[in-house]
Symmetry: C2
Subunit: 341 residues, 2 copies
């Protein structure tokens, strides 16, 4: 890369490097004539201040790191969108890393970002991750840090969350209100907090309505995929337990269930009602349209960057920082897949 | 952020900063005993080399910039995935910026990345962008640069592309082979090269089969959305021109057409066959399943980073660089929406 330096500008104009530098910073001890000459030449030669040198001086990189489990994911891509939009407004760039749900990769990526001296880190944990050393390390180094969506409750950082228990309770209550008597739950993986909380919400809703909890009605995903939904749809028909409603951990899996039921002629919602979670775009374009829980995603990204910036500014000014938790609202979206007559 | 410095390590061990620095670089004139002591203390104190200082020395940021029109998009999120996976393998971080299809924003982002001294830039142009100054500026500064998907043919950089004309011809030929006599085209916006090329492919396929081109059968999108598909589906029924097949610029719009036809009881493919473009995940889960053109996306990201790295290495070694064009293959995916009996 060909680069114009302060030295070239100084030599061309026959003045000192210090004068050039002062002129570019609009110092008052440089004459207006010199200042104009320096600006004109800098523009002509296409001078760009060396950002490494600027970083070294200010100790700020104006860059933040974002680690998420998956980029190709309706929810996460919307969160990314919110984060980079808000970061850009505030003059920050965003480095995005994908953990692929691997704890090993996530550890490596945290180390990379720390080494890169980012001004802060925003993260949604991989399914394998929890109260681990590499996360504590971020806090120990006093690097501004915000968790969102898949969080560790044990890590005392700022967080943007939804109330998964409450949201799940509302989804199951909706099935009960529509007359479902035997409600299955296709739950997520063992580790992630949101998977645990949605399962608890399912149980609480049953309890509240005097319906006994039956572990046989709980199907635990090995992977969060369309195919997993197809597998459990087959299983549910085979088990033949009289299930008339299903609350599914997320829309992608719910759509797999729906696709198989459509194929073998099970009426949805007539025979079995289905409600998903996360209001993925696809839910509105399939047939029957899928009822689901709407979860803010773009807003979650905006809030996460907001909390991070608060911490960055606070620490820069040498003030003690108290982590904050922002809880965003959710709502049940009623579509065809639960509209029993 | 609390940081351990070389000075602290030197003072604690009672040796010079130079010795600490040499020890950490494994210089041979430092005794094994001192080297071990320095490493042990550096580890204990959690010393991280200052990457700004390292950057200033090596003139490499090991960071690349990626500008794309949209993050929340099946195709682009897969490309991002390919780029960051490949970058990571090679020790590079990726800053991602979203132009929101705005030329103004794109210009600002290019300037930001140049100022940030990224080692290279990968870009898919916004719909408004073409042979513009900000792009030429990247080349003028000899910053390694790769275009993919939405490219400007006039900018002599490396490129990863598909053959949109050929792919579109194959899609339309498929409709003709299935017996369609009056084929409409829902085309993309005016400016993007891929929109122009797919339109040319549509015309060439008609010509090759002796079907006269009729401009009344071409519907030009104002936005690439589901809703736009619904609007044109209504229009096509209203126009009542005897259309029995539609080639749609992309799956998202095609699904809008399909949704409206489903709603008003038009049989697909019985009355009107539909083929989309880009093999979006949703195409397989709607009913009827959508025929489409499969376009490599993850592979496109991998290839784009590969070309960029080639240029980075070449320029680093002071060798002249010749831009390369990689063309990836496409294929027609036949599903229910074109399976006429």
């Amino acid at each position: 890369m060909k680069e114009t330096t302060l030295k070239e500008i100084a030599e061309t104009l026959g003045i000192s490097i210090t004068t050039v530098s002062k002129a570019l910073k609009n110092y008052s001890d440089v004459s207006e004539k010199t200042r104009k000459a320096v600006y004109a030449l800098a523009e002509e030669l296409n001078y760009t201040p060396n950002s490494f040198a600027v970083n070294l001086r200010t100790k700020e990189s104006k860059t933040i790191g974002l680690i998420i489990p998956e980029v190709v994911h309706h929810f996460f891509s919307n969160v990314i969108n919110g984060i980079i939009a808000e970061a850009e407004k505030n003059g920050y760039l965003v480095i995005i890393l994908q953990s692929n749900e691997s704890l090993e990769l996530e550890k490596k990526q945290v180390a990379l970002l720390i080494n890169k001296r980012v001004d802060g880190i925003i993260m949604s944990l991989s399914n394998e991750s929890n109260n681990d050393f590499h996360i504590k390390e971020i806090l120990r180094k006093e690097i501004p840090f915000v968790q969102f969506d898949k969080i560790s409750k044990l890590i005392p950082s700022s967080k943007v969350i939804i109330n998964d228990q409450k949201a799940a309770m509302e989804a199951v209550q909706h099935l009960i209100d529509k007359g479902c008597k035997k409600i299955a739950h296709i739950r997520g993986l063992e580790n992630p907090q949101n998977s645990i909380d949605r399962f608890i919400g399912y149980k609480k809703a049953l309890e509240k309505n005097g319906i006994p909890f039956d572990p046989k009605l709980v199907y635990a995903c090995k992977s969060i995929t369309f195919e997993q939904g197809v597998v459990f749809a087959k299983q549910i028909i085979e088990d033949d337990l009289g299930i008339d409603g299903i609350f599914v951990i997320t829309d992608l899996v719910a759509i797999g269930v729906l696709a198989h039921f459509n194929e073998i002629g099970i009426q949805v919602p007539g025979q079995i009602a289905i409600i998903g979670f996360s209001n993925w775009f696809v839910s509105q374009v399939i047939s029957p349209k899928l009822s689901t829980v709407d979860q803010p995603n773009y807003e979650m990204g905006v809030a996460a960057f907001g909390l991070l910036l608060e911490e960055i500014v606070c620490r820069k000014n040498g003030k003690p920082f108290e982590p904050k938790i922002v809880e965003l609202g959710t709502s049940v979206i009623v579509r065809e897949s639960t509209l029993k007559k």
